[in-house]
C-alpha cells in the first residue's frame, strides 16, 4: 500500500483551506480585534485610567479569591466522588454518577437562585419548615464564601470527570502487586493511586479555576446585591452604564480575565512538566477497593452531599415558584400555581426564550457538526505543524471565559460589516456566531475520538473502487461516526441551551435566551417567575440527559461524560 498512496491526497483540495478559513473567522478574527482595541487603549492612555480605578483591583482580587476558594471546594467534592465511584465497590454507581454530573449541566444562575431560596430569612422552604432566620438577618450566600461555595458545587463535576478519566487507566497490576506484598488499603491509596492520579487532579483544578474566573451567573446573583464584583459582572455592569469609553474599558477588562485564565493554565502546565506518568500494564481499575465496613460511612455521606447539592436546592426553587407573594410561608393552603400560569401562558418572553435557546442550540449543534466532521477528517488525516496549530486555535475560544468571546464579537460586529452594510449587533446572528466559536471544541472532541478509532482501510478501499469524497463521506464515514456525532450534537445542545454569559451581553429585544430571561426576571424582582422558569429548565435538562443516557449503549466509550 505504502508507495502508492500518500495519505495527504485522499482528501479534496478545498477541505483543509475551508477548515482554516472557518477557524480564522471563529477564533483568530475576534481575538485579534480584542487585542487591537486593547493595544489602542494602551496607546491613548485609556488603559492607565482603567488600571487606575480602585474598583478594578478589588474586582480582580475578588475574582481570584473566589476562583481559588471555589477550586479548592470543587477539588474536595470532585475527588471524593471520583475516588469512591471509580475505585470502590460502592452501590448504584451509575445513578450516583448521573446525579453528580447534573449540576454542571444546570445553568449557574439557576443554581444560585435555588441556593438563595434555600437559605436566609427569605427562604420559602425554611419558612415552611419554621426554621427561617429572624428579621434583618443577612442572606449568608451574598458573600465571598457564598460565591466560592456555589463555584465549588457547580464545578466539582469538572474535577470529577477529569480525575475519573485518569483513574480509569490506572494499572491494576500495580495495585495487585502492592496488595500481595501486604500493603494496607491506605498505603496503596497513598503510595500508588494518589501519585498516579495527580495529573487528573491538576487538570481538574485548572479547568475548574478557569471556569470559576469566567463564571457570570453565580456572582451576578450572589455578588451584585452585596457589591462584590468579579471581572465578568464588572464587564456586565460597565455595559449597563454605557458611555463612549465602554468598548475600550471592557476590552482591557476582558484581557485581564484572559491573562488570569492563561496563568491558571500555565500553572497546570508547569505542575505537570518534569513528571513522567507513563504507565504500563492492564488498565481498568474497577473496584480496586472493597469498602467493607466503611460502606456504612461513605454511602450515606455521598447521598447526603447529593441531597444538599441537588434535592434541597431543587425543592427550594420549587417552593419559591409556588408561594403566592414574597414573605408568605408556603403551606398547602397558600400554595399557588400563579407563577407557572404566568410564565407558561402569559409571558411572551418565555416562548421567545424557549424558541431562541432551542433553535440557537439546535443550529449551533447541527451546523457545527457539519464543520466538525470535515475538520476532524482533515485534522486526523494530516499530522503536520499547521494542523496542530489549527487544533489549538479551535481550543482557545472554549478555554477562554465566555464573556471574553462575547466582548470580542461585539467589537468585531459593533459597526456594520463593510461591503455588505449589514449590522449584526443586536440580532440573533451575533449570538449564533459567538456560540459557533465558543462550542467548536466541544463539538469536535467526540468526533475526533471516533475518527481515531476508524480503520482507514475501509475508506481507502472505497477510494480505490472509485468512490468520490462525498460518496465516501455519506456511505462509510458518517455511518461509522454517527453515534459520536449524535453525542456531540446533544452535548453542544445541552451546553448552548443553558448558556448565559455570552448572551447576557449580546441579547436584544426578541433575542433573549433562556439564561437571559431567567436572569432578567430575577433582576426585576420577579423571583417567583424566575424560579418557575428555572424549574422548567431543570426538567428539560434532566430529560435531555436521560435521552443521552439511553443513547449511551451505542456510543464509543467516554463520549457520554458521566458514564465509564
Amino acid at each position: 500500500m505504502h508507495g502508492y498512496i500518500k495519505t495527504g491526497n485522499s482528501q479534496p483540495a478545498w477541505l483543509f483551506p475551508f477548515v482554516v478559513i472557518v477557524v480564522l473567522i471563529l477564533s483568530v478574527l475576534p481575538l485579534a480585534r480584542l487585542a487591537m482595541v486593547g493595544i489602542a487603549a494602551f496607546a491613548d492612555g485609556g488603559v492607565m485610567t482603567v488600571l487606575g480605578e480602585a474598583s478594578l483591583w478589588s474586582t480582580t482580587y475578588y475574582t481570584v479569591v473566589t476562583a481559588i476558594l471555589g477550586t479548592v471546594i470543587s477539588l474536595v467534592i470532585g475527588c471524593l466522588f471520583a475516588f469512591l465511584l471509580t475505585l470502590t465497590d460502592i452501590r448504584a454507581k451509575g445513578l450516583l454518577s448521573f446525579f453528580f454530573v447534573l449540576p454542571m449541566m444546570i445553568p449557574p444562575q439557576v443554581t444560585a437562585l435555588a441556593w438563595v431560596q434555600m437559605s436566609g430569612p427569605s427562604s420559602p422552604l425554611l419558612k415552611a419548615l419554621h426554621i427561617a432566620p429572624p428579621l434583618g438577618s443577612p442572606q449568608p450566600l451574598y458573600s465571598v464564601g457564598g460565591i466560592a461555595l456555589l463555584y465549588g458545587v457547580q464545578h466539582a463535576p469538572l474535577v470529577y470527570l477529569a480525575l475519573r478519566a485518569g483513574l480509569m487507566t490506572l494499572p491494576r497490576d500495580g495495585v495487585e502487586a502492592a496488595r500481595l506484598s501486604g500493603a494496607s488499603s491506605l498505603r496503596v491509596f497513598r503510595d500508588i493511586i494518589l501519585p498516579l492520579s495527580l495529573p487528573g487532579i491538576i487538570a481538574g483544578a485548572a479547568i475548574s479555576f478557569v471556569s470559576c474566573t469566567g463564571n457570570f451567573g453565580i456572582p451576578a446573583i450572589l455578588g451584585i446585591p452585596a457589591s462584590i464584583f468579579t471581572l465578568p459582572t464588572l464587564i456586565f455592569t460597565k455595559f449597563s452604564a454605557f458611555t463612549s469609553r465602554t468598548f475600550g474599558d471592557v476590552a482591557v477588562l476582558s484581557a485581564i480575565i484572559a491573562v488570569i485564565s492563561v496563568v491558571g493554565l500555565m500553572i497546570q502546565d508547569r505542575a505537570l512538566r518534569g513528571r513522567d506518568y507513563r504507565v504500563i500494564g492492564l488498565s481498568g481499575a474497577s473496584a480496586a477497593f472493597e469498602l467493607g465496613i466503611w460502606r456504612f460511612a461513605f454511602t450515606p455521606l455521598v447521598w447526603v452531599i447529593l441531597f444538599f447539592m441537588l434535592a434541597a436546592p431543587f425543592f427550594a426553587l420549587l417552593a419559591g415558584a409556588l408561594v403566592p407573594a414574597y414573605g408568605v410561608p408556603l403551606t398547602f393552603k397558600t400554595m399557588s400555581l400563579h407563577a407557572f400560569e404566568e410564565i407558561l401562558f402569559r409571558q411572551a418572553v418565555t416562548r421567545t426564550a424557549f424558541i431562541n435557546s432551542l433553535s440557537l442550540a439546535g443550529a449551533t449543534a447541527l451546523c457545527l457538526l457539519v464543520v466538525t466532521v470535515l475538520a476532524a477528517y482533515a485534522l486526523t488525516r494530516r499530522k503536520d505543524v499547521v494542523s496542530r496549530i489549527v487544533s489549538s486555535l479551535i481550543e482557545i475560544p472554549y478555554s477562554l471565559p465566555g464573556i471574553v468571546m462575547a466582548v470580542s464579537f461585539i467589537l468585531v460586529f459593533a459597526a456594520p460589516i463593510p461591503i455588505l452594510h449589514v449590522s449584526l449587533y443586536g440580532t440573533i446572528w451575533i449570538i449564533l456566531i459567538a456560540y459557533f466559536s465558543s462550542f467548536f471544541a466541544v463539538s469536535l472532541k467526540p468526533v475526533v475520538s471516533a475518527f481515531h478509532q476508524l480503520d482507514p482501510a475501509l475508506e481507502e478501499a472505497a477510494r480505490l473502487s472509485g468512490a468520490g469524497f462525498f460518496r465516501r463521506l455519506a456511505d462509510i464515514i458518517v455511518p461509522l461516526i454517527a453515534p459520536a456525532a449524535g453525542a456531540s450534537v446533544i452535548l453542544v445542545f445541552l451546553i448552548a441551551c443553558n448558556e448565559l454569559t455570552i448572551s447576557a451581553l449580546l441579547w436584544s429585544a426578541g433575542t433573549q435566551t433562556l439564561g437571559v430571561a431567567i436572569y432578567n426576571l430575577d433582576d426585576s424582582g420577579s423571583s417567583d417567575l424566575a424560579s418557575a422558569l428555572s424549574v422548567l429548565v431543570v426538567l428539560m435538562v434532566v430529560v435531555l440527559m436521560l435521552l443521552l443516557e439511553l443513547l449511551a449503549k451505542r456510543l464509543p466509550k467516554g463520549v457520554v461524560p458521566w458514564r465509564g
Partner: protein, 325 residues
C-alpha cells in the same frame, strides 16, 4: 445523513423565521415583567394586526442599552415607556424623539405632557416607605429611617438601576431639613442601596431588611396578595414619577408607535394601569384599591430643568455615599 440534513434544514428555517416573524413594534419599558406583558397584551387585543415585542429593565439600564445600540447604528426600540420625564427630556434635546400630537392629550392636565408632543405621562408613581409587618417600629416620616430602631434594617433602590430612585433622591435632596444630609445619616445608620424597586420589595417582604424606600404600587399590590408588608406615605411628602411614553425618531413603524401612544393614554389603556394597581394620569379616573384619596397624597416638587442639569453630579454624590452599584 438524510435525517440530519433535513433536521439542519428545519432548524435553519426556524432561525430564518425568527427575524421574519419579528415584531412590528419594539417597546423598551421599565415596568415589571407582568405589568409590561399586561400592557402589551391590552394593546394587542385592541390592535390585533400589530405585534409588539418588549424588553424590560430598569430605566438607567435600558437607556444604556439604547445608547449602545444607537452607537452601533442599530437602535432596536420604537417606543419607550420608562420611569421619568427627565430622561425623555434629555432624549428630546438630543433630537432622538419623534413629536406626535395625540388626540387623547385633551383629557390630561397640561403639566403632564410635553407641549410639542414628544412625550406624555401615563401614570403617577410615588415613592414612600414600606415595612415588614413584623418590624418593631412603624415609620411615619422619612427621618424615622435614621432612628436607632432601623439600624442596619433599611434598604433602597439605587439610582443607577432605577429611574424612579434617581428622581426620588433628587427630590429629597432639595427638601429643606432632608437634603443629602439625610442620605448621609441613612448610610451611617447602615442603610444600603442596591438593585431596583423589585429588589427592595423582595428584601423587605422576605425579612432580610425591615424597611425600604419603594414605589407605591408594589407593596400595596403584594399586601393584597397576603405578603406581610405595609406601605406608608411619609409626613414630609412623597416623590413622584409619571412614567411617560415617547416615540424614538429612528422608528420605522411610526404609525404603529402612534397607535401605541394613543392606546396607553386612552381610557381603556388607563383602566388597564388602574387594574394593575397604578394611579392613572388621565383626568376623571378612579384610584386603585389600597390608596388614600388623591388630594391627601402630598407630592414633593421637583425642578425638572435642575434635575436634568444635575443628574451626573447627583449620581456621583449618591455613589460617593453608597458605593457605585
Amino acid at each position: 445523513m438524510k435525517t440530519i440534513v433535513s433536521a439542519a434544514a428545519l432548524v435553519a428555517a426556524s432561525l430564518l423565521a425568527i427575524p421574519a416573524s419579528a415584531a412590528n413594534l419594539v417597546l423598551y419599558t421599565s415596568q415589571p415583567n407582568e405589568d409590561a406583558q399586561a400592557t402589551v397584551d391590552g394593546f394587542m387585543t385592541a390592535n390585533p394586526d400589530i405585534k409588539v415585542d418588549w424588553v424590560r429593565d430598569g430605566t438607567p439600564k435600558i437607556m444604556a442599552k439604547l445608547q449602545a445600540e444607537i452607537q452601533a447604528g442599530n437602535p432596536v426600540a420604537d417606543v419607550l415607556l420608562i420611569a421619568d420625564v427627565v430622561t425623555l427630556e434629555r432624549l428630546k434635546e438630543d433630537g432622538k424623539l419623534l413629536a406626535y400630537k395625540s388626540p387623547e392629550a385633551a383629557q390630561y392636565d397640561a403639566a403632564l405632557y410635553d407641549t410639542d408632543g414628544y412625550y406624555y405621562s401615563t401614570k403617577l408613581i410615588t415613592t414612600g416607605i414600606m415595612y415588614n409587618t413584623s418590624a418593631a417600629m412603624k415609620p411615619a416620616s422619612w427621618k424615622d429611617l435614621t432612628k436607632p430602631e432601623a439600624k442596619g434594617l433599611v434598604t433602597m433602590p439605587s439610582p443607577l438601576a432605577s429611574g424612579a430612585a434617581l428622581i426620588h433622591a433628587q427630590t429629597l435632596a432639595a427638601v429643606p431639613g432632608l437634603g443629602w444630609d439625610f442620605y448621609n445619616s441613612l448610610a451611617e445608620n447602615g442603610a444600603i442601596a442596591a438593585g431596583g424597586n423589585g429588589a427592595v420589595l423582595k428584601s423587605v417582604a422576605s425579612g432580610e431588611k425591615a424597611y425600604g424606600m419603594v414605589v407605591d404600587y408594589l407593596p400595596i399590590r403584594e399586601k393584597a396578595k397576603g405578603a406581610p408588608v405595609e406601605f406608608v406615605f411619609p409626613s414630609e411628602g412623597v416623590s413622584a414619577v409619571t412614567e411617560p411614553v415617547g416615540i424614538l425618531a429612528s422608528t420605522k413603524n411610526a404609525d404603529a408607535a402612534k397607535k401605541f401612544v394613543d392606546y396607553v393614554l386612552s381610557e381603556k389603556g388607563q383602566e388597564g394601569f388602574l387594574k394593575l394597581g397604578y394611579i392613572p394620569a388621565r383626568n376623571g379616573m378612579k384610584l386603585p384599591e389600597g390608596f388614600p384619596a388623591r388630594d391627601t397624597i402630598k407630592v414633593l416638587p421637583i425642578k425638572a430643568a435642575d434635575a436634568l442639569k444635575n443628574t451626573d453630579q447627583d449620581l456621583k454624590t449618591f455613589s460617593g455615599i453608597y458605593g457605585s452599584n
